[in-house]
Point group: C2
Chain length 340, copies 2
DNA sequence: TCCATTTACGCAAACGTTTGCGGTGACGAT
DNA sequence: ATCGTCACCGCAAACGTTTGCGTAAATGGA
């Protein structure tokens, strides 16, 4: 029980005026005498009055609260995005209520439901890996409820969203490997039903093609879980054979790290024999041995851009479909640079 | 505008009954005919009725929302705790609204304020590094508002809190170094006004004393920022001198990693010449070279325990001061084990 | 002195929900 | 015909706030 928080009524009663007067006095509305205004404000100050946001929400059908749905919180990229969202929300006077789906579709659906009943003003979503049916979002959009998607785009037409340029990121990474003299690049691909995986794969393909190199389908290994072990298993198998690639481009840093581990274990030197490039620029990527080349994604910026777009929708009442694409940046480190 | 969400009133109007009847029918209260009950429930289902949580909050002075205040979101340990909080809240039907202070006192105070006006039912707090005045929490506690502190304890008597056994963690770490034959252990200490830093320092001291080794005050270097660079700077200076320690125990993994970097740069081999142990078991600690010995903190468990304690306070209305201490676990890896 | 205007405030409804209390009608018993 | 007993339902208030409208007193002008 939140005992003792002063309300407008309390102030009104104490001053023998009506709640309306107090409300108007506090907000400097016209039609209130200087004297009353001062008395009200002084007492409000003294009682440490804070408006009850819940009552305001109910009254105004606006909660100044945004919902955020992410697959995981313990995740360098997503936590960075969340941080950006937090900041953006704060400066605009919004609160953030947070949910993680743990990559589970059912939880995602449920969370959307509870958030809606919490009367959030808008939703920021990066959907789960399992999600193939997007009707729980579609329903809301059809009702004109504002949702901004980030990083992972749903299969819905005409949404407002923010992504990074996964295609170019991948392209740059692979082109960089080729420039370094690597010719046979293995791709550790992400979950198939994620657009980002698709895009990164396309970038990989295009870079090879542009360099006149063949695209071998057996050089594309799906690593849907994105764990270190998964990629390690695949790589140690593949690099013990005779038909070995001479480089690895992984769809995420974890997989890349797994590849490095596997290569180390096999006694294959990185980057001399095999070059490795990851994706995301996770914290650890600069700290492992050798420091890993990777593609940086502007997570914080993605978060703040997403909030901006969402607030724009909320405040204008319009939902103008756009997809904002943030640039990636290749961070060249030792793992992909052959000593000259 | 959240257009078209059906309300109890809508159902009532459509069925020509009163809102009260609808409310009772939906909740299976007695005194409603089977027929009416069914009609109400069917229509509610059809209209996809969801109770308006805001109205409920206002009516019941209970929001089923918890506030969480952390210094940073992009932080392996804190994001793990947040994850635990999330889960705990979810299974108990609570929402979580999240704020990061960025280690700034002023923001902390402000956040507490806005959360209170959002009518949260309780607060979970790990205070900022800057915070020395805890009156913004004290005020609430005095009013019987439930707060559970985690990881970083405020200087307030009789709180409910969850911490890890920083003392023992540090003790174990240093004892381990000594057992490995290291004799002159440097301590990279955390921010002085954090209890955790104090505790870890005490553990360090005690372990040295118990082993009959001297505690040299000049072997205790404060690293208040906890960045890689900070520790790197200190260590490269210290280890270029002649009076060199032969081991490093850092108050956090980042600092330890900085030490390793500095040592590598100086051509000093880890662990052969100098052993290094960190604190927290951040993700990267197992992946750097050499894999780093560190002290694991049960972040997720801390989060879920903190929620449990908070909900207990909320639901019982009682605030029984306790400090729950979770065990740490030394994770021995290469960085501290001399080859035999 | 009287009317018109302004100043300063209160009433009441509304947001969506819950709940104590009261009321209506049907029915059986007397 | 009267009464009591149910089963079923509605009224109204309440949570804290805002706001259109109404109204009293005070002021101004003639």
């Amino acid at each position: 029980m939140n005992l003792g928080q002063a309300t407008i009524k309390d102030i009104a009663k104490a001053l023998n005026v009506s709640p309306s007067t107090v409300s108007r006095a506090l907000k400097d509305y016209p039609g209130i005498s200087e004297e009353t205004r001062k008395k009200v404000k002084d007492l409000a100050e003294e009682l440490n009055y804070r408006p009850n946001a819940v009552a305001l929400s109910l009254r105004q059908s606006k909660s100044f609260t945004l919902g955020v749905i992410v697959p995981e919180v313990v995740h360098f990229f997503f936590s960075t995005v969340i941080s950006g969202i937090e900041e953006g929300a704060l400066v605009n006077g919004y609160n953030v209520i947070l949910c993680q789906t743990n990559e589970q579709y059912e939880r995602e659906v449920k969370m959307v439901d509870t958030m809606i009943s919490s009367q959030i003003d808008g939703l920021l979503v990066s959907h789960s890996r399992e999600t193939k049916d997007f009707s729980h979002f579609k329903r809301l959009l059809d009702r004109n409820f504002p949702i901004v998607f980030f990083d992972r785009l749903p299969e819905i037409e005409n949404t407002v969203s923010v992504i990074v340029d996964d295609f170019m990121g991948a392209y740059d990474a692979v082109a960089h490997l080729i420039l370094q003299g690597y010719r046979d690049v293995l791709h550790l691909a992400g979950p198939k039903n994620l657009k980002i995986s698709e895009q990164r794969l396309s970038g990989y393909r295009k870079a090879l093609q542009d360099a006149g190199l063949p695209v071998r389908e057996d050089r594309i290994i799906p690593c849907p879980n994105g764990t270190l072990e998964e990629s390690q298993t695949h790589c140690s198998l593949l690099f013990s054979g005779t038909d070995r690639p001479d480089a690895v481009f992984a769809s995420n840093d974890m997989a890349a790290a797994g590849a490095i581990e596997a290569l180390k274990a096999l006694g294959i030197s990185v980057p001399e024999t095999v070059g490795v490039v990851g994706f995301s620029n996770w914290q650890f990527s600069s700290m492992i041995a050798p420091p890993m080349t990777t593609v940086a994604q502007p997570g914080f910026e993605m978060g703040s851009r997403a909030v901006s777009l969402l607030l724009q929708c909320i405040e204008s009442g319009k939902y103008n479909p756009t997809t904002e694409v943030l640039p990636t940046a290749l961070i060249p480190r030792a793992s992909s640079q052959r000593k000259k």
